[in-house]
C-alpha cells in the first residue's frame, strides 16, 4: 500500500502500463518535458523517450486522428486532451472514427485507444476549464466511458482502459486530482475491480445516491450528514458511464425504492436522465418516488466566481433526498 493523490496514481498507472507493454504510447500537448499541465505524465518522457511520450502539434483532431493511424499500426496510444473544453475539435475523429472502426470493419480493425481528459469544475479557472462533456461520449455507441473518483481506481482504471481492446474515454475529475488515498501498487490488474462495474461505497436502506467522478466526494459527504439525522443513504459510484452497470443499480433501487443521480453536467440530456429512465424501466413497481437529479444547471458553465453555486453540493443533495422521501 502506498499513499497517492489521484494525479499521482494516474502517473504511476501510466508508467506501469508503459512498462508492461512497449506498444503503449502517450500523445498530447505539453505532455513531454512539462509532464502535462497537471503533471499526469511527469517524468515519463525522460524515462521512455520522445518516441513513446510524444509532444504533439497544437491540433486536437490531428492528435486523435494520428492516434488512430498509430493504433492501426499496432500501437496502443493514450491521448491526453489538455482540458475538457478543448476536446470538441477532435469530436469528429472520436465519434465518427474511433467509436466506429470495429463496427465499420466487422471486427477486422480495432482501435485500442485511450483518451484521457481532465473534466469538471471547481478549480476557479476561466471559461472552458470546468466542463462536463461526458454525455456526448456516453451516448456514442462504440465508446466506453469511465471515470475515477479515488487514487486506487485512478491507478487501476487507467491501466484497464489501456488494456481494453475497445476505445475508452477516461475522464479525470480535475478538482479531485490532489485527493489522497491508499493504493496497492503491488497488486495485480486482474484482481482490481473491473472498469465497467459500479461500486457500492456506502450501504443504506433509505435512498440510493448515484454519483461519479467529482461528485462522489460530495455524495459521501451528504451521506454522512444524512446518517447523523438517521437517514441511511446508499452511495454508488457509477464508474462506468457507458455501458451502465444497471445490475448494481437495480439491486440497490429495488431495495431502497428511491434514487438520486448527482452530476456536474447540466440536467437536460445528461447521464442522470438516462439512468433515471433505465431505473424506471427496470424498477417500476419498486420506485416509491421518481428518480431525481441533482446536477449542474441547464446553462453553459458560469464564470468561476459562481461555480460553487452551479456545482451540486451536499445541501442540494439533502434537499433532493428530503423531496424523494416525501413522496
Amino acid at each position: 500500500m502506498e499513499e497517492l493523490t489521484i494525479i499521482g496514481a494516474i502517473n504511476k498507472g501510466l508508467r506501469r502500463a508503459m512498462d508492461a507493454d512497449p506498444k503503449v504510447l502517450l500523445m498530447g500537448e505539453d505532455i513531454g518535458k512539462l509532464g502535462g499541465v497537471f503533471r499526469a505524465t511527469e517524468g515519463l518522457q525522460k524515462d521512455f523517450g520522445e518516441n513513446r511520450v510524444i509532444d504533439t502539434p497544437l491540433a486536437e483532431s490531428g492528435i486523435v486522428g494520428t492516434a488512430i493511424g498509430l493504433a492501426l499500426y499496432g500501437y496502443r496510444p493514450v491521448v491526453e486532451i489538455q482540458f475538457d473544453g478543448f476536446v470538441y475539435p477532435a469530436f469528429d475523429q472520436i465519434v465518427v472514427q474511433v467509436a466506429r472502426m470495429r463496427y465499420r470493419t466487422a471486427g477486422v480493425l480495432h482501435l485500442p485507444i485511450t483518451i484521457r481528459m481532465p473534466y469538471g469544475g471547481g478549480i476557479g479557472s476561466v471559461e472552458h476549464h470546468g466542463e462536463s462533456p461526458e454525455a456526448y461520449f456516453a451516448s456514442t455507441p462504440g465508446l466506453r466511458v469511465i471515470t475515477c473518483a479515488d487514487p486506487s481506481d485512478a491507478y487501476w482504471m487507467i491501466q484497464q482502459a489501456i488494456a481494453s481492446d475497445d476505445p475508452v474515454i477516461f475522464l479525470e475529475p480535475k478538482r479531485r486530482y490532489w485527493q489522497k488515498g491508499q493504493v496497492d501498487t503491488n497488486g495485480d490488474m486482474s484482481t482490481a475491480v473491473p472498469m465497467n462495474g459500479a461500486k457500492v461505497l456506502v450501504e443504506g436502506a433509505d435512498c440510493t445516491l448515484i454519483c461519479y467522478g467529482p461528485t462522489v466526494a460530495t455524495a459521501l459527504q451528504a451521506a454522512s450528514m444524512a446518517a447523523e439525522e438517521g437517514v441511511h443513504l446508499e452511495v454508488i459510484n457509477l464508474r462506468s458511464l457507458s455501458p451502465l452497470d444497471l445490475a448494481t443499480l437495480n439491486t440497490s433501487v429495488m431495495k431502497t425504492g428511491r434514487a438520486i443521480v448527482v452530476h456536474e453536467a447540466s440536467s437536460s440530456g445528461g447521464i442522470g436522465g438516462e439512468v433515471g429512465q433505465c431505473l424506471m424501466q427496470s424498477c417500476f413497481y419498486h420506485l416509491k418516488a421518481p428518480v431525481l437529479r441533482v446536477t449542474g444547471y441547464d446553462t453553459p458553465y458560469p464564470p468561476s466566481r459562481n461555480e460553487n453555486r452551479y456545482l451540486p453540493d451536499a445541501d442540494r443533495i439533502l434537499d433532493a433526498v428530503e423531496k424523494s422521501m416525501s413522496y
Partner: protein, 364 residues
C-alpha cells in the same frame, strides 16, 4: 486556372514521350502494357458498377471515370509493404491492391460498411468523411517510423504510406493538420491529391486561387504538380515521393491534375453546374487513349492484345453482374456484432429483442 500552370508530364496528350529534367520513365514496355490493361479494366469495372446502380443493384457508386491514369500510375508505385488510405473514388487503387472488383461492390450495395479486409490488402476501405483519413495515414506512417521500418535501407522493409483525396478535401482542417503532423515528425507519407477540378458542383477555384501543390511548401514539404492523365508521369512522381518517404526524408504532396469525366456519384447531375464544353475538352485528353496511341505506335499494343484485354473486360463485367446479385443480404442479427470487443448487456438485450421479432415473423 490550374491546368495552365506547368505540370510534370512525360507522355503528352498525343501519345509522345516528353523530356523532363527531373523525372524519366523507368518503365519497360511490358509494364506499360500492364498499366494499359489496368486502366482498361478499371474503366470497365467503373462503367459496370455505374450500370449496376442504374439497374437498382447498388444504392450508389462514385465513378472514377477519367482518373484511371492518376490511380493506376500511383497505385502501381506502391510496394507490398506500403499501406494506402483512399476515399470512395479510388477503385483503381483498390484494383492495384488486389481487391476483386466484385468485392468492391459490397459497400455500394449496402451490405457492409467496408468491402475488403484492410490488413490483407494493405488498403483501408472506402472512406466517406472528407479528409479524416489523411490523419490516419499520417499516424500510420508515424507508426512505421517508431517501429523502425523506415530508412533501414532494406528495400523490402522500408515502408511508406499514401493518402488519396480530392481537390475539395484540401480545404478541410483535417487535411491541413495532417500536413502539420507529417512535416513535424517527417513521417513517411505521400499525400496524393487528385485534382479532378470538381468537388461535387464546386470548381477547384472555390477552394483555392493558387495551384494546390503550392500548399506544400509552407508546411515544410515538397509539392509536385503532375499531369494526372499521364500514367507514366504519375508513376514516376509517386515512385520518387514514396522512395523519399521510405528513406526517411519525410512527406510529399502530389497534385495530379485530372478531370472527373462523369458525375460526382450516380445521384449527381453535373449538367446542373458545368458546361459540356469542358467535358468535350477533357474527352480529348482521355488518359487511356494517349497510352493506347503510344503503345500502338511502338508496336507493343496490337489488335490481338487489344482483343484479349477486351475479352478480359467482358468477363470481368459479367463476373461483377453475377457476383453483385449473389451477395447475401446481411442477417438482421449481424447488426449487433462488433460494436464492442466483448458482449455488452444493452446490445445483447436488443439482439434478443430482434431475435424475438424474427421468431415471431417466422411463426407467422
Amino acid at each position: 486556372m490550374n491546368q495552365l500552370e506547368p505540370l510534370i508530364q512525360l507522355l503528352d496528350n498525343d501519345g509522345s514521350i516528353v523530356e523532363n529534367s527531373q523525372y524519366k520513365s523507368s518503365l519497360d514496355d511490358a509494364t506499360l502494357l500492364g498499366f494499359y490493361r489496368d486502366m482498361v479494366l478499371v474503366r470497365q469495372l467503373d462503367m459496370q458498377a455505374t450500370a449496376l446502380q442504374r439497374q437498382g443493384e447498388l444504392s450508389l457508386w462514385a465513378p472514377c471515370l477519367g482518373q484511371e491514369a492518376a490511380q493506376i500510375g500511383s497505385g502501381r508505385a506502391l510496394k507490398a509493404q506500403d499501406f494506402a488510405f483512399a476515399t470512395y473514388r479510388e477503385h483503381g487503387i483498390a484494383w492495384c491492391r488486389g481487391v476483386d472488383p466484385v468485392q468492391m461492390l459490397r459497400f455500394w450495395r449496402g451490405t457492409v460498411h467496408q468491402s475488403w479486409d484492410a490488413n490483407k490488402h494493405r488498403l483501408y476501405g472506402y472512406q466517406i468523411i472528407i479528409g479524416a483519413h489523411a490523419l490516419h495515414a499520417t499516424g500510420y506512417a508515424m507508426g512505421a517510423q517508431y517501429a523502425g521500418n523506415v530508412a533501414t535501407g532494406q528495400a523490402d522493409k522500408d515502408q511508406a504510406v499514401i493518402a488519396y483525396f480530392g481537390d475539395g478535401a484540401m480545404s478541410e482542417g483535417d487535411i491541413n493538420e495532417a500536413f502539420i503532423f507529417a512535416a513535424a515528425y517527417q513521417a513517411p507519407v505521400v499525400f496524393f491529391c487528385q485534382n479532378n477540378q470538381w468537388a461535387i458542383s464546386e470548381p477547384t477555384k472555390r477552394q483555392s486561387r493558387v495551384p494546390l501543390s503550392h500548399r506544400a511548401d509552407g508546411f515544410g514539404m515538397p509539392g509536385v504538380r503532375v499531369d494526372g492523365n499521364d500514367v507514366i508521369a504519375c508513376h514516376e512522381v509517386t515512385m520518387a515521393a514514396l522512395e523519399r518517404a521510405r528513406s526517411g526524408q519525410g512527406p510529399t504532396l502530389i497534385e495530379a491534375v485530372t478531370y472527373r469525366m462523369g458525375a460526382h456519384t450516380t445521384s449527381d447531375d453535373p449538367t446542373k453546374y458545368r458546361n459540356s464544353a469542358d467535358d468535350e475538352l477533357w474527352r480529348t485528353r482521355d488518359p487511356i487513349e494517349r497510352l493506347r496511341v503510344y503503345l500502338t505506335g511502338k508496336g507493343v499494343l496490337n489488335e490481338t492484345i487489344s482483343a484479349e484485354i477486351a475479352g478480359e473486360a467482358t468477363s470481368l463485367a459479367e463476373r461483377m453482374r453475377e457476383g453483385c446479385r449473389q451477395f447475401p443480404t446481411p442477417e438482421p442479427l449481424a447488426m449487433f456484432d462488433h460494436v464492442y470487443a466483448g458482449p455488452d448487456a444493452r446490445i445483447e438485450a436488443q439482439r434478443a429483442e430482434m431475435q424475438a421479432i424474427l421468431a415471431q415473423e417466422g411463426a407467422n
